[in-house]
Structure formats: C-alpha cells, structure tokens
C-alpha cells in the first residue's frame, strides 16, 4: 500500500559529513578543489498522502542529476533497510558508492532524486543547495583543512561555520549563527543526565553550550552541557550559591540574579574564561523571579520580595554598571518564566496567591511598556521557557490541581497564539530550559519533592550553525 502511495517529501536537509565529527566548514570557498572521500549527510521527512509521518524500514535509491527534470544521472546508490521513525530518516550519501568530487565541481545545478523500494520515484527532485556545496569536501573539507590549505587558509575576517561557538585557535565566535532546516520537529529526545540532581536551578546558553547554574541541593553547582557530544562537564561554581534565582545572557556572558537566600546578588559568568564576577546588587531582593537579556541589558522581573509577589522590573546595564527602575509588571507574580523574541520580553505563568497564572505579558524595552497577550492554555508556576526561531516554548511547571506537568506549549508572538506541543517525557516543575543549536533543552527540576537530573531535548525544526570569524 505504502509502495503505491505518492509520498510527500516535506523537508530535506543536507549537512556536512565526511564520516567523522567536523569542526566546521568554510563559508567562503577560496581554495582549489581537493579530492576527498567525503560523504553527504542527508536527512528527510516522509509522510503518506494524509500527512501522517511514516514509521517503516525502506530500501532507498538516491541519484544525483544535473537538472530538475530529465538531465543526466551523475551518481547513484541504493541503501537497504533505512529506518524511518516518525517520518524522519537520516543517511550518509556515498556510504555505498562514493560520490566523485566531479559531481559537484563540474557544474552548478545538482538535483537529488529519491526512489523508494526501487519503484516509487518521489517528485520533484530536491535541489542540492549552495550551502551543501560549502559543506561538501570539494572546496574546504573542514576548518582544519581551511587552516592548512596550500593557498594560505581562510583570510582574516572571513568566517567558517561550527557546530558550537567554541572556536578553534585563530578564530573568534561572532555571537551569530545561521539557521538551517532540521528534520527533528516536535520530537522529545532523552539526553545525558546532569551530573547532579537539581531543582530551582537556572540555565542559559552561550555559543551552543548550556550552563546549568545553582539550585537545590547543590547551590554552588555549575555544569556545562555540550549538545554536540551530549556530555555534561563540571565548571567553576559561583561564589554565592543559591536557588530560585534567574539567569539571563547578554553579549556572551551569563548573569545570575537574586534567589534564595541572597536575594540581591547579581553575578556574571564568563564561559570563555570559566570565571565568576560579582556585580552591583539588584535594588530589590527577590527570589522566584524571571530574567531576560535584551540589547545588552538585563531585566529582572517579578518574583517574591520581602512582602510577597512583586511587580518590580529592574534593568541592569553592565557597561555603566547601573540598575534602573523600569515600568512595573501588569500584575504581581512569582515562579514565572521569561523569554525574548525580536527584542521584546515575554513573561508567562507564575503564581499570585492561590492563582496559577496563564497570563502572558510582553515588555518592550524601547517603549518601556507592558502589553497583555493571549493567555497560555495551562495556568502553572515554576515552569521554564526558552525561545527559538521566533517562537517561545513554555515547558513543565505545577498547576492548581497539584500536578507536576509535562505540558509543552508554543507561543507565536506574531500571531499572538498558543499551540499545544507534544508532552515532555518527564513531568516536573522548578526546572530550567535553554536553547542551543536551535533545539530546546529541559533540564533538572523536581517531581514530588525530589530533585531530578533529567535532560530532554525538543527538536523545533531548525538547527543552528555558529559563525566563527578568522582573527
């Protein structure tokens, strides 16, 4: 039945591959062609005619042509029993029959044809984009090759792409990335656990790595997660260990603010030097607050101060080292979450007295104005939030019925709408969330009074490559 169906190839993505982990690929081709036994990583997404993702094992034949229709076949191979899970498959083209370099060096347009079970030819063919050319071994196999090429390597000021912001010697991470399609959409995957169980922690990402800071019970802990290697590493702990603090990033530095029991403390972590510095105290001590970094400044929002739930919103400028009072939240709350899209801060959820809030408010630092937005479908507090590709993901939390939540809801600021997404595998509150490489990571938290070490990844359909500039 499947064989006869006209299958729809929704998404395809070529990524770098030469059979081993790469450090990067040159963006600007400048070196002469080098013969290299590279393969091309190819990922796709298959559904049936009703749009239902396939779960199957298929024989797939791939062929590269020099035209969208007809044209000459330049290369082909058949791979047997390719697993397709939830519609997603991933293969290395050239692993059966090596792709000659001439396929890419002697022509501009190249198109990939996919045939299922030797009979179902998917149409139309997929164009192999310029990016894929850059990723192939033809012009610059890896950043290492680019560095050692006989033509002198990557010129100063030119850029390479890396799987993380950790730049090789002679390069600097530009704090920017490029985005490409990722077949992992709305899929939760369990990743390596943190080194410690922790709840009421904070997390932030810098250069494609995530830092999980403080929390209960190990208030001094600081661990780095590398999504590429799926490993956690202990890093330098901060001076004032605490929990229920907030964490935000600006200009490659992480700021950890407030918390229990030292609620005015603001500390800055530099992941490059693995060092902490104490900043000027926040004017209003708070725990259970939210924080966000925008336009080089940090905003500390809401939380629980001496008197209870707070509306306080304070801005910290690390350059002038000044805290400034800004427009107060529309309503008091603590245990809320914040994320940034397009220079605006979105604060969602939290608790006020016995109300577990669905409220979502937008703060525009330019106009210093709060605007009420569409309610989140699920009222909850001590949830976590992170943004990617212009959308915000609100994850987990605890609600008025005493339930630890797996709930994942996506907010689109452009349409001002919330969409329910697949549940996170592990129910929890007091967790942290951060984005890295275009994917969302839910980290730690608490279930039934026990801290957790779980790390779970949500694919959002986008993957990021980090731009590293030659010094």
């Amino acid at each position: 039945m499947l064989r006869k169906s006209a299958l729809l190839l929704l998404l395809a993505c070529f990524v770098i591959g030469n059979g081993q982990q790469r450090k990067g690929a040159a963006v600007r081709a400048h070196a002469k062609v080098r013969i290299s036994p590279s393969v091309l990583s190819y990922q796709g997404y298959l559904t049936d005619t009703l749009g239902i993702p396939l779960d199957d094992t298929l024989n797939m034949t791939y062929a590269i042509f020099n035209a969208e229709t007809n044209g000459s076949e330049l290369w082909s191979e058949t791979q047997s029993l390719v697993p397709v899970e939830h519609g997603v498959f991933s293969v290395l083209l050239g692993s059966v029959n090596a792709i000659p370099d001439t396929v890419f060096t002697q022509g501009i347009e190249r198109w990939l044809e996919l045939i299922l079970e030797t009979t179902d030819t998917l149409s139309p063919r997929t164009r192999i984009t310029g990016a894929a050319y850059a990723y192939t071994a033809t012009h610059a196999d890896t950043a290492d090759y680019a560095l050692t090429t006989p033509l002198g390597g990557v010129p100063s000021g030119y850029c390479i792409l890396g799987a993380s912001g950790t730049a090789p010697a002679g390069y600097t991470y530009t704090q920017n990335y490029v985005a490409a399609a990722d077949p992992s959409i709305d899929v939760w995957t369990t990743k390596a656990a943190m080194l410690d169980d922790r709840s009421f922690l904070g997390a932030a990402s810098v250069g494609g790595k995530i830092y999980a800071i403080g929390g209960y019970p190990d208030e001094n802990a600081n661990e780095e997660y590398d999504p590429v290697t799926n490993t956690w590493t202990a890093k330098e702990g901060w001076q004032h260990g605490r929990k229920e603090h907030a964490v935000a990033t600006v200009n490659g530095k992480i700021y950890a603010i407030g918390g229990y029991s030292e609620d005015v403390i603001c500390e800055e972590y530099d992941p490059v030097t693995d060092t902490w510095n104490e900043e000027t105290d926040m004017p209003t001590g708070r725990r259970g607050l939210a924080a966000a970094g925008v336009n080089g400044k940090i905003y500390a929002i809401g939380g629980w101060d001496d008197m209870g739930e707070s509306t306080t919103n304070e801005e910290y400028d690390p350059v002038s080292n000044v805290w400034t009072t800004k427009a107060s939240l529309i309503g008091p709350r603590y245990g809320c979450a914040a994320a940034v899209v397009d220079g605006k801060i979105y604060v969602m959820g939290g608790r006020y007295h016995t109300n577990y809030l669905m409220v979502t408010d937008e703060y525009d630092p330019i106009t210093n104005n709060w605007t009420g937005k569409a309610n989140m479908p699920t009222g909850r507090y001590y949830l976590a939030a992170a943004a990617v590709n212009g959308k915000i993901y609100a994850i987990g939390g605890y609600n008025s019925t005493g339930t630890y939540l797996t709930t994942t809801e996506e907010y689109n600021p452009v349409s001002n709408t919330w969409t329910t997404k697949p549940d996170m595998p592990t129910a929890r509150y007091a967790l942290a969330a951060a984005e890295a490489m275009g994917r969302i990571y839910a980290i730690g938290g608490d279930y039934g009074g026990s801290p957790l070490d779980d790390t779970e990844e949500l694919g959002t359909g986008v993957i990021h490559y980090y731009i590293l500039q030659k010094d």
């Binding site: 704090q175 600006v250 200009n251 530095k253 029991s261 800055e268 510095n277 900043e279 000027t280 004017p283 209003t284 925008v294 336009n295 080089g296 400044k297 001496d306 008197m307 209870g308 306080t312 400028d317 690390p318 350059v319 002038s320 080292n321 000044v322 400034t324 009072t325 800004k326 427009a327 107060s328 397009d342 220079g343 937008e362 525009d364 330019i366 106009t367 210093n368 104005n369 605007t371």
Partner: protein, 253 residues
C-alpha cells in the same frame, strides 16, 4: 501689507530655526540626525543590531523628556558631575570591551560625555530625586508617619492598610540597621519595626511609582516630530503604548 510681511518674516524664522538635520523637538530641545547616528552606533556596540531609526528616535525622545523633567525638578547636571560619572563608569564598568566600543563611536571625548555619559547620569539623578525626595513621596510619607505615631507604645497593627510581615533573620538585620528606632526607607518603601509578642514585625508603605510619575510629567512636555512619515512610523511602533500614542499625537505637537 505690513502684517503679511511680518508673517513672512516669522515663517522664515521658523524655517531658519529648524535645521534640516533636526528630526524632533522636545520642548524646543532638538534631536538631530547626528544624535540618531550616535545612538544607533551605541546600540550596535551593546550588541543590539535590531535597533533602527524608529527605535533610536523613541529612545532619544525619552532621553530629552527626562532632560526637560530634570530641569523642571531643578536637577542641575554640571560638566564636572558628568566627568565624575565618566570616571565612575571607567572604574566600575563590568563590560570594559563594550565600553571601549562605545567610546570608539565618538572621535571627540566631549561628544562621548554628552551622548553617552550625560543620559546615564540624568536618569540616575531623576530616579534618586523621585524616590528620596519627601515632596514626591509626600503621600506614603504621611501614611507611614501617621501609622508610626499611632503605633507608639501600642504593639498592635497600627493601620490595616499597611503591608505587614515578619522578617527572617537576614531581613531583620537589614530593617533594624535601616530603621533603627524610627522610620527607615529604601528605594521603594518606607518602613518601621514593632515588637509584638516577642516577635519583630515590619510595617511598610510602598513609595510612589516612578514610571507613572515620569509619564505624567512627560505628557506635559510638547513633542514635535517634524517628518509626518516618521511620526506615523513611531506611532505604529508604539501602538501598544497609551503613553507613547499620547506623546506622539498630532494635537500635542
């Protein structure tokens, strides 16, 4: 005939007064194209690539509004105060790399002082004035004073409208140090302590809201955006803000 000539002269004077590089007037204080360029460059140094002219003009209007309000409040910012603030920033900055980029925007040190340091100092001074000036805080100060007087010798709730809480040990140290045996204050509140049944209790009154006050004062200041297209863009950008819609409304300009 004479009146027509006079009108012409007046019109000419208006045209001459408004330089072609002027974009906005805030109570007669001009925001120029150069100001916009500087602010754009400062934003970029801060890592903010999203700011365009619209965002920058809004920041500059607010900056000038604060200047006008500071004037009305008789907050005088002298050159030496600005120099001192610049020195403080040099010594206290937590982001020396970005500060260096900000400084590099200006070829002239005085321009750096005028366009970067002065606005920082004005906002700081204005907030200091508002939160710690007894005139601005007349109402909460009245409430706390009356409550404190009523509470003398009567360890009961002196006023049901006050915020009341029992501090933990850390908080108690702070409130005891700040209030001693009278009324204390911090940036956002007035407070005093009463010992009740062997437990210290803090009674607290929040101070007035700074943003609310600033906006009220700002709405008394005339703002004129010279270019109608720009005004429309600013209105669109601030469509969620009642305050900005009023500031930019044609009736006020």
């Amino acid at each position: 005939m004479k009146s027509k000539s006079l009108l012409f002269v007046l019109l000419l004077a208006v045209v001459i007064c408004q330089s072609t590089s002027d974009i906005v007037s805030v109570d007669g204080r001009k925001i120029t194209q150069q100001d916009v360029s500087y602010r754009l460059a400062i934003d970029k140094a801060y890592g903010n690539d999203q700011s365009g002219t619209t965002e920058v003009v809004l920041q500059l209007i607010m900056q000038e509004l604060r200047e006008v309000i500071a004037d009305k409040e008789q907050i005088f910012i002298t050159d030496s105060m600005i120099e001192q603030e610049a020195l403080r920033i040099d010594m206290e900055t937590k982001a020396p790399g970005i500060l260096a980029k900000v400084k590099a925007v200006f070829t002239d040190h005085h321009e750096y002082l005028k366009h970067y340091v002065r606005p920082v100092l004005v906002e700081k001074s204005l907030q200091e004035e508002f939160f710690f000036d007894t005139l601005h805080q007349k109402e909460p100060l009245r409430i706390i004073n009356e409550a404190f007087t009523r509470s003398a010798g009567k360890p009961s709730n002196p006023d049901s409208t006050l915020n009341v809480f029992e501090p933990d040990n850390e908080q108690l140290k702070y409130y005891e140090n700040s209030a001693e045996k009278g009324i204390g204050e911090d940036k956002y509140s007035y407070f005093f302590l009463i010992e009740k049944n062997g437990k210290k209790t803090v009674y607290l009154v929040p101070k007035m809201d700074y943003t609310e006050w600033l906006h009220t004062e700002a709405l008394k200041v005339p703002v004129h955006v010279y270019d109608e297209e720009l005004r429309k863009k600013l209105l669109t950008r601030t469509r969620n803000s009642e305050f900005w819609q009023k500031i930019l409304s044609k009736e006020r300009t």
